[in-house]
Point group: C3
Chain length 136, copies 3
Amino acid sequence: MPVQQLHISAPRKGFYNITEQVKQIVREANLSEGLCTVFVQHTSASLLIQENADPAVRHDLENWISSLVPEGDPRYTHTTEGADDMPAHIRATLTATSISIPIMNGRLALGTWQGIYLWEHRHYGQSRSVVVHVGA
Amino acid sequence: MPVQQLHISAPRKGFYNITEQVKQIVREANLSEGLCTVFVQHTSASLLIQENADPAVRHDLENWISSLVPEGDPRYTHTTEGADDMPAHIRATLTATSISIPIMNGRLALGTWQGIYLWEHRHYGQSRSVVVHVGA
Amino acid sequence: MPVQQLHISAPRKGFYNITEQVKQIVREANLSEGLCTVFVQHTSASLLIQENADPAVRHDLENWISSLVPEGDPRYTHTTEGADDMPAHIRATLTATSISIPIMNGRLALGTWQGIYLWEHRHYGQSRSVVVHVGA
């Protein structure tokens, strides 16, 4: 099946490593060469490929973007869903909704230090849906 | 035809909802599963998937990014095309030139609240060209 | 071959135009219509489609993002690899790891003013690996 849906439990703000789930879908596709596309079906969560080694990278990323896009900015008018909602939309806008990764030698062509993350931008997250397409 | 070109009238800065045009191309492709890629052929307009419900989200996004990337920053040296030109290039850099969306059950796998927008970053826009590819 | 790897010499921070290398891969694929995806295998370098005419655009982009993401921010905790390392991860997060460009009439459907750049975010770069997939 070229398209599969992943349901990711993302109960709080932060990074959820989905690399293994995506690799598993690519393995099952059994293609020597191709393209894998990851898409998140939400507007307050996004996708990120970043360093999978030192967790301090993700810690600093979260801190940095929280300063860039503060909660409670008096200019926000979309406020009915909570103080973290408009910042979540802005953070998702600045990062990725879809990422496409080539398949080479039967494997996802990620660099050594690259992991694929769902980035939850709401304080109290939920189940997030990620759709993965694999094609030749 | 796997590739089609859309001409979007974008006379002023802001968001232009192109979801229906993209869905129409996907319907005509008549694929049960596949991948749809949207690409904008410009460097001062970009693509965005964001909330299609409350227009305040887009209003706040526009306000926020206008503050982040102000016009008339004295550090800009690329100024001959107007005060909004260099900010437009920066805004396009921070957002997407291409977005890929899986096709699932014969339909674009957008989430319930996701719309596809052309984001015009110049004050006085123009006709913008968006190229859409649909493949298996 | 649908997937090819480019090795880009990126000895210092800045922009490396890879448009011709990508176009050459597309020419060799000899497809009338299709999709070309460019993917960078690193977390401190990224991809950018931006104006290929006035180099001042790229100069101003580099200046602007250097101010947005300063080196030596005391909040960074990921500091062992140098003062430019955490800023490089943030800059890569705000820009693109993958870009997909339709192929139309046998050619990459870039706009007139669009070039494809590898954006090196470290002061002392290295050889960077870019993987290019071409499919129907």
